[in-house]
Chain length 245, copies 2
C-alpha cells in the first residue's frame, strides 16, 4: 500500500496520525479499517478511536512493532487508517465546480500536498492531476496535504480527458507561465473569470505544450531577477489566493 | 559537515549539484574547495568546474564512489562545493536593509529553504533565524533554497539580539498571526511600512510570546474554514508578495 503499484492494485491508501485521522472523521471520509496501538495512544488518540468505533469502522488493536512497521513515517501516534481510493471521473468535478486546480507533471510529493492544502483553503472545489504527476494517495502527499485529501474530490486523468471540460459552460483555462501577464496587472479582471481551471506545471519541465496551447490566459508572478523562479507550491498558492479575495 | 554539530565545529557547509553551484558562481560566493568527478560531469558541469578554476578555487578530482559518499542526496551530478559559513551579526542586516524576514521556530528544512527562496524573490534584504529554528546551512535547506542561500545575508541569532533592531529608524515588526488583521484589509496601508521585519513562527507551536508581544501589527491571511491553517512557507510567501507589489 506504500507503493504506487500497491495502491493501484488494491485501490487503497493509508493515512496515519491524529491530525490526519481527525480530518477523515470531520469530513466523514471514513477508513475501511482502523489499526491502533493502545500503548501509543494519547487521550486525543483514544477519543478518536472511540469516534471511529461509533461510526462502525472495523478496529484492529495491533502491537507497537506492527503499527510502526506499516507506518511510512517510521514512527507512530498509535493510529493508522486504511482507506478506499475514490475513483472519480473528471466530468464529476466539472459539472458542479467553479474553481478547479489542475496539476500537470508535479512530481514532488511535498509540493503536491501543499498545493492540495492551499486549494482547499482558497475555495477550490476539486483538484485534478495528470497521470505524469505524483500519485496523490502517496503517503507523503497525504501527510503534507494535512488532511486536505479528505476535503474535496481528487481526480487523476489524462490531459485529453481533462481538456474536455471546455464543453462545460464558461470555464476559462488559466495557466501559470513565466511568459504570461502579471497577476496584478489591471488587464486581468478576476470578476471576468467566474469558472476557472488553474493549471500548474513542474518547475523543471514546465507545463505540457498541449495544455499551454489551450490556455485562455497565461499568468505570471512578478519577482526580482535574483531568483530564476518561485517554488511551484508557492506560485500556485499566490495565484489561488488572488482568486479567493 | 552533514550534521549540525559538524557544521558548528568546522564552520563549513556543503552545496552540491549544478544548479546550486551556478548560484554560488553568479553571486560570487565561492567555495573554499570544489570536489568533482570527471566521469559524472555533463558539459554544463564541466564548464562550471572551469569557471571555478578561473576564480582560483582549489579543485579536487575524486572518484564517483567518494563524491556519492559525501553527498547528502545519495546521488551526484559530479560537483560539490565546501563553503565557509558566513558569521554575521544581526546589526549588519538592520543597518542597510528595508525588508527583513525573521524565522522563529521553523524546523522543517523544506519550508525554511522555500522561504529563503521567496524572500530573495520578493526583494527582502536578509533573513534572520532564531536559534530554535533549523540550521540554515543544513543540506536540505540549502537545496530547497535553490541557491538563495548565496544571494543575501543569512543570520542566526537569539530573540534578544534580534529585537534590538527596534533602535534602528523606522522598523516595524509585522507578525503573521491567525488573530491578526486581514492582509488585504484597507486598514493596512503598505506604504506606511517602509522598513519592516516580517516574523513567521512554526505551524505547530506558533511564534514566541516575546516576539508576539513586540509586534507593531499582526497580519493574517483569510481562507476557508475547511482547513485549519496554511503551510508556513505558503503563508510567508503570500505576505512577502504583498509587500513586493
Amino acid at each position: 500500500m506504500q507503493t504506487k503499484k500497491g495502491r493501484k492494485l488494491e485501490k487503497r491508501f493509508v493515512a496515519e496520525g491524529i491530525r490526519l485521522l481527525e480530518e477523515s472523521l470531520k469530513n466523514n471520509f471514513l477508513p475501511i479499517k482502523l489499526y491502533y496501538t493502545e500503548s501509543l495512544l494519547t487521550d486525543r488518540g483514544r477519543w478518536l478511536v472511540k469516534e471511529f468505533e461509533k461510526e462502525k469502522v472495523s478496529l484492529y488493536n495491533i502491537s507497537a512493532k506492527d503499527i510502526i512497521s506499516i507506518s511510512d513515517a517510521g514512527t507512530s501516534q498509535g493510529v493508522l487508517g486504511l482507506f478506499n481510493i475514490p475513483l472519480l471521473k473528471p466530468g464529476i468535478a466539472f459539472k458542479k465546480s467553479r474553481k478547479l486546480l489542475l496539476l500537470d507533471n508535479i512530481s514532488d510529493p511535498g509540493n503536491a500536498g501543499t498545493l492540495l492544502r492551499s486549494a482547499l483553503a482558497f475555495g477550490f472545489d476539486a483538484v485534478i492531476l495528470t497521470n505524469n504527476s505524483v500519485d496523490p494517495f502517496n503517503p507523503k502527499v497525504v501527510r503534507s496535504s494535512v488532511g486536505a485529501i479528505f476535503g474535496f474530490p481528487i481526480i487523476t486523468a489524462t490531459v485529453e480527458e481533462i481538456l474536455r471540460f471546455k464543453k462545460y459552460d464558461g470555464f476559462k483555462l488559466i495557466v501559470a507561465d513565466t511568459k504570461g501577464i502579471d497577476l496584478n496587472s489591471k488587464k486581468i479582471n478576476i470578476k471576468n473569470y467566474s469558472r476557472i481551471v488553474l493549471a500548474l506545471g513542474s518547475e523543471a519541465e514546465g507545463i505540457s505544450e498541449y495544455i499551454l496551447s489551450k490556455a485562455d490566459i497565461k499568468i505570471k508572478i512578478n519577482h526580482a531577477a535574483k531568483v530564476d523562479s518561485l517554488n511551484v507550491a508557492v506560485a500556485g498558492s499566490i495565484i489561488m489566493k488572488e482568486f479567493y479575495k
